[in-house]
C-alpha cells in the first residue's frame, strides 16, 4: 500500500540520498570538531585565554624543577608546567611515563578545573618523529645498570 515501486528516477533518488548523507555527515563532523577537538595550549596561552571549563585540551611545556610532589596516596602528583612567561599547576593520578622528569618537556591531556589543570594523560615530549623509540623508555634505573655494566 505504501511500498510502491519507485518512479522512474530511482537512480536520482539514490544519488540525492547519498548527497544528503554526505552533507549531513560533513556538517555533523564540522560541528563536533568545533566542540570536541582538543586545542593545544602553552602555559602562557592557557593563563591568558583559558578554555571553557570542562573542555578537553592539551597543555605543553617544561616541568618546573623541584615542582613534582607526590601526594600521600602515592599515585597522585602535583607539578608545575611552565614556559618563559607563565606557570600552570597540574594534577595527575596514575602511572607516569618513564621520561617524565623535572626539567624536561611534557604534554598533558586534560581540562582546567578552577586554576588547576587536571590531567588524564601525560605524554613525555618524546614522540617527535626523529626520536627513536629506544629513547623514550630508558629509566634512570636502567641507566644505572648500564653504568654498572661499564665499570
Amino acid at each position: 500500500m505504501n511500498t510502491m515501486i519507485k518512479p522512474k528516477h530511482q537512480r536520482l533518488v539514490l544519488i540525492i540520498l547519498a548527497l544528503v548523507a554526505l552533507i549531513g555527515a560533513g556538517l555533523l563532523a564540522a560541528y563536533a570538531l568545533s566542540k570536541q577537538a582538543a586545542y593545544f595550549y602553552l602555559p602562557s596561552e592557557l593563563v591568558a585565554k583559558p578554555p571553557e571549563a570542562g573542555r578537553a585540551v592539551r597543555l605543553g611545556g617544561m616541568v618546573e624543577k623541584g615542582s613534582i610532589k607526590t601526594q600521600t596516596d602515592g599515585v597522585t602528583i602535583n607539578f608545575i608546567v611552565k614556559d618563559d612567561k607563565a606557570r600552570v599547576p597540574v594534577r595527575f593520578s596514575g602511572i607516569t611515563p618513564d621520561l617524565f622528569v623535572e626539567g624536561s618537556g611534557v604534554v598533558a591531556e586534560g581540562r582546567m578545573e578552577g586554576t588547576t589543570f587536571v590531567a588524564d594523560n601525560l605524554l613525555a615530549k618524546h614522540d617527535e618523529k626523529y626520536v627513536p623509540r629506544e629513547m623514550k623508555n630508558m629509566t634512570s634505573a636502567e641507566a644505572k645498570a648500564v653504568i654498572a655494566e661499564t665499570k
Binding site: 511500498t3 515501486i5 547519498a18 555527515a25 563532523a29 570536541q36 577537538a37 623508555n137
Partner: protein, 648 residues
C-alpha cells in the same frame, strides 16, 4: 648471497608485472589479442617469485644476517625465534615487501582459479592488478630496498622495539595486510569491469568471494590489533581512534559496504555504479591508510620510522592510482546502465541504507583523522580523539544497527510492512525491556546505555532469519549472515559493558596491602626480579580472589629490554566468564610503595569474541559460496562427460 638472490628475484617479479600489464593491455586490441594467453601464467609466476623474495628476507631475519642493513637495524641475535620471524615485517621495508607479496600472490591466485568471468574482463583485471603492483614494486626497489647490504657487517643488531616484542606482532600485521591488500583484487575487478564495460551480476558474483576473503582477514586483523593494544599498552583501553587504527578501520568500513552492495548486485542486478565505486574506494582507503602511517604526516604511537620523501613517493602513487581509477569511473560510470528497481521497503533499500551509514562513518573518521592536518596548515595545533569520534560515529552506527535488525528478514524487490510485524516487534520489545532495566539498575552514560539496550535486541533480530526454516537445509551463507550480525551484537554488548561498568583502582601499595577492585579483593604479596630470554623484569605477585573465593595469582611485570634499551609493561589478565581483571605494575615511589593499577572490566572479552564471530560469519558465507561453486562445476563436468559418452 641470499640477499642478492632475493633482490634479483624481486626485480624479476617486477619485470613480470610489466609484462603482465603490457600483455594484458595489448590483448584488448584485436590485433594483439593472442597475447591474452600470456597473462594468467605470468601472474601466477609473478606471485611465486615475490613469495620467494619474501622467503629470502625471512631467512635473513631468522639467521640474523647482520650484513643486511635491515636486519642490523631491526633484529638481534638474542631475540627469541618468533620475534626474529615476526621482526621481518615489524619495520617499513619488510612490511612493504609483505604488501607487495600479498598483492602478487592474490593476483596469481585469481589467475589460477577464477573462471567465471568473461576472459577479457579477467585479463583487464589482472592488468589492473599489475599496474597497481608496479607502483609499489618501484617504491620498494627504488626507495625502500629491504635487501640493502651494509659496507661491513654490524657487530650486533639494534634489536626490535620492546613494544613490538609480543606474539601480537606475529599475528596482527600479516592478517591485516592480507585484508588490506586483498582489497586490491576488488579494486582491479572494478577497474577491469569499467574498462570492458561489464558491470553486472556476473562481475559481482566473481568479485564477492575475494571481497569476503579480504574482509574476513581485515576483521580478524583489526580485532587482534585491538586486543594486542589492550593488553600491551597497560592503559586498559581497547580503541584509541589513533590515526593508524583509523587507517585500518576505514578500509574495513568500505569493504563491509562493498560486501553488502555486492550481494545486491549479484542477487538483483541493482546498485551497479555504486558497487563499482565502492570497489575502487575500498582499496583506495587501504592506500590512503598506508600513506598516512608511513609518511609522518600524522604523529601516532604506531608510526614507523618516518621519512617525508617516502611520503611523497606514496602520495604520487596514490594520485596516479586513485586519481586514475576515479577518473576512469567518472568517464565510464555514465555508460553503466541503471539496475533493477526496488521499493522503499525492500531488502535492497535496507542495504542501501546500511551502505550510506557505513560511508557516513567512513567519512567522519576520515575527516577526524585529517582534521589536525588541516588546522596545522593554518597554524593551530589540535588533537581529535574519542570525544569526537565516539558520539559522531554513534549517530550513524545506531540507525545502521536498527536497520541491520530488520533488513535480513525483508524480501527482495518489494515487501509489505505488515508481513514483518513480529520480526520488528520482538527485538524492539527486548531492547525496550533492556533499556528500562539498565536505566533503573545502573543509570550509565548515554552511549553505553544505548549500546546495552540495543545489543540484546540485535542479537534476537540476527537469528530471526532462521525462524521457520529447515535448519539442516538452510544454506551456509544464511548462517554466515546470522552469525556475522550476531557477532556485531555481541561486540556491541562488550563495548557498552566496558564503558558502563568498568571500575578502576589506582593505588600505591606495600607488600601485604589489599585493595578492592569491583568484586575482586587483590593483595600485593611480593615484588621481585625475574629474567626472560632477552629481558629482565620486576615482577609483582598479586593474589586476586573473586567475591571471597579461592585466590588466583597474577604476575604483572615491568620489563626492561637491553637491545634496544626500553621498557614495557606486561599486564596480567584474569579472565572469567563475566569479565576481566587487569593488573598493571607501575613504579616504586620514594616511600617504597609500589604504584599498582587495576581494572575490573565486566564482559570486555565480548568485544573480541564478537569480532571473531563476525569473521566466522564471513568464513561460513565464503565456504558456502565456494562449496556451491565447486558443486556446480562438478555437476557441469559430470553432465558434459555424460553427454560426451552418449555422443559417441
Amino acid at each position: 648471497m641470499i640477499a642478492e638472490l632475493g633482490l634479483a628475484v624481486l626485480w624479476m617479479a617486477a619485470a613480470l608485472a610489466v609484462l603482465q600489464l603490457v600483455a594484458g593491455a595489448l590483448s584488448l586490441r584485436p590485433a594483439t589479442a593472442h597475447l591474452a594467453g600470456v597473462v594468467r601464467p605470468v601472474a601466477i609466476l609473478q606471485g611465486v617469485l615475490v613469495a620467494c623474495a619474501f622467503a629470502a628476507l625471512i631467512w635473513l631475519f631468522l639467521s640474523t644476517d647482520l650484513s643486511v642493513k635491515l636486519v642490523a637495524e631491526n633484529s638481534h641475535s638474542a631475540k627469541p625465534f618468533i620475534f626474529k620471524l615476526a621482526g621481518t615485517w615489524g619495520n617499513h621495508e619488510g612490511s612493504m615487501l609483505m604488501w607487495v607479496t600479498i598483492m602478487s600472490l592474490a593476483g596469481g591466485f585469481v589467475a589460477l582459479i577464477e573462471k567465471r568471468l568473461p576472459e577479457n574482463t579477467l585479463i583487464a583485471t589482472l592488468a589492473g592488478q599489475a599496474f597497481v603492483s608496479l607502483g609499489f614494486y618501484a617504491f620498494l626497489l627504488l626507495a625502500s630496498n629491504p635487501f640493502e647490504r651494509l659496507p661491513e657487517p654490524a657487530p650486533e643488531g639494534a634489536g626490535l622495539n620492546p613494544l613490538l616484542q609480543d606474539i601480537g606482532l606475529a599475528f596482527h600485521p600479516p592478517t591485516l595486510y592480507v585484508g588490506y591488500v586483498g582489497l586490491s583484487i576488488a579494486f582491479s575487478f572494478a577497474v577491469g569491469a569499467l574498462v570492458t564495460r561489464d558491470v553486472g551480476p556476473a562481475f559481482a558474483r566473481a568479485m564477492r568471494p575475494w571481497v569476503l576473503g579480504a574482509w574476513i582477514f581485515l576483521t580478524l586483523g583489526i580485532t587482534a590489533g585491538s586486543y594486542w593494544a589492550y593488553y600491551t599498552l597497560g592503559w586498559g583501553g581497547w580503541w584509541f581512534w589513533d590515526p593508524v587504527e583509523n587507517a585500518s578501520l576505514m578500509p574495513w568500513l568500505a569493504a563491509t559496504a562493498l560486501l553488502h552492495s555486492c550481494s545486491v548486485l549479484a542477487a538483483r542486478n541493482a546498485l551497479r555504479t555504486w558497487t563499482v565505486m565502492l570497489g575502487v574506494v575500498a582499496f583506495s582507503m587501504s592506500m590512503v591508510g598506508t600513506f598516512l602511517v608511513r609518511s609522518g604526516i600524522l604523529t601516532s604511537v604506531h608510526a614507523f620510522a618516518v621519512d617525508p620523501t617516502r611520503g611523497s613517493f606514496i602520495l604520487a602513487l596514490l594520485a596516479i592510482y586513485i586519481g586514475g581509477a576515479l577518473l576512469l569511473f567518472g568517464l565510464r560510470a555514465s555508460t553503466v546502465t541503471e539496475g533493477a528497481r526496488f521499493a522503499v521497503l525492500s531488502r535492497e533499500s535496507s542495504l542501501v541504507f546500511n551502505n550510506v551509514m557505513l560511508c557516513g562513518i567512513l567519512g567522519i573518521v576520515l575527516v577526524g583523522t585529517l582534521y589536525p592536518l588541516l588546522t596545522e596548515a593554518m597554524g593551530v595545533k589540535v588533537s581529535v580523539g574519542p570525544p569526537y569520534f565516539n558520539p559522531v560515529s554513534a549517530v550513524f552506527a545506531i540507525p545502521m544497527m536498527l536497520v541491520m535488525a530488520v533488513g535480513p528478514v525483508l524480501r527482495w524487490r518489494e515487501d509489505k510492512g505488515g508481513r514483518i510485524t513480529w520480526q520488528v516487534a520482538v527485538p524492539a520489545l527486548v531492547s525496550a525491556v533492556a533499556l528500562l532495566a539498565v536505566e533503573l539498575l545502573f543509570a550509565p552514560n548515554l552511549l553505553p546505555a544505548l549500546g546495552l539496550a540495543l545489543a540484546p535486541g540485535l542479537a534476537v533480530a540476527s537469528v530471526q532469519p532462521l525462524v521457520g526454516r529447515n535448519l539442516r537445509r538452510t544454506p551456509l551463507p544464511i548462517y554466515g549472515m546470522v552469525i556475522g550480525h550476531l557477532g556485531i551484537a555481541v561486540a556491541l554488548f562488550g563495548m557498552a559493558s566496558e564503558g558502563a561498568f568498568s571500575t578502576e583502582r589506582l593505588a600505591a601499595m606495600n607488600p601485604g596491602d589489599t585493595q578492592q577492585v569491583g568484586p575482586f579483593k587483590v593483595t600485593l604479596q611480593d615484588i621481585g626480579p625475574v629474567a626472560g630470554p632477552n629481558w629482565t623484569a620486576l615482577e609483582a605477585t598479586v593474589s586476586a580472589s573473586y567475591a571471597g573465593g579461592t585466590a588466583t595469582i597474577l604476575h604483572p611485570q615491568a620489563r626492561t629490554f637491553a637491545n634496544p634499551p626500553g621498557n614495557r609493561t606486561e599486564s596480567a589478565l584474569l579472565t572469567r566468564w563475566n569479565g576481566q581483571l587487569y593488573a598493571v605494575l607501575g613504579e616504586e615511589g620514594d616511600d617504597g610503595r609500589w604504584q599498582m593499577r587495576f581494572w575490573w572490566k565486566p564482559f570486555v572479552p565480548m568485544i573480541w569474541y564478537g569480532g571473531a564471530l563476525v569473521a566466522l560469519g564471513g568464513l561460513l558465507a565464503l565456504l558456502g559460496r565456494v562449496a556451491r561453486d565447486v558443486k556446480r562445476l562438478v555437476a557441469i563436468d559430470k553432465i558434459a562427460y555424460r553427454r560426451e559418452r552418449q555422443g559417441r
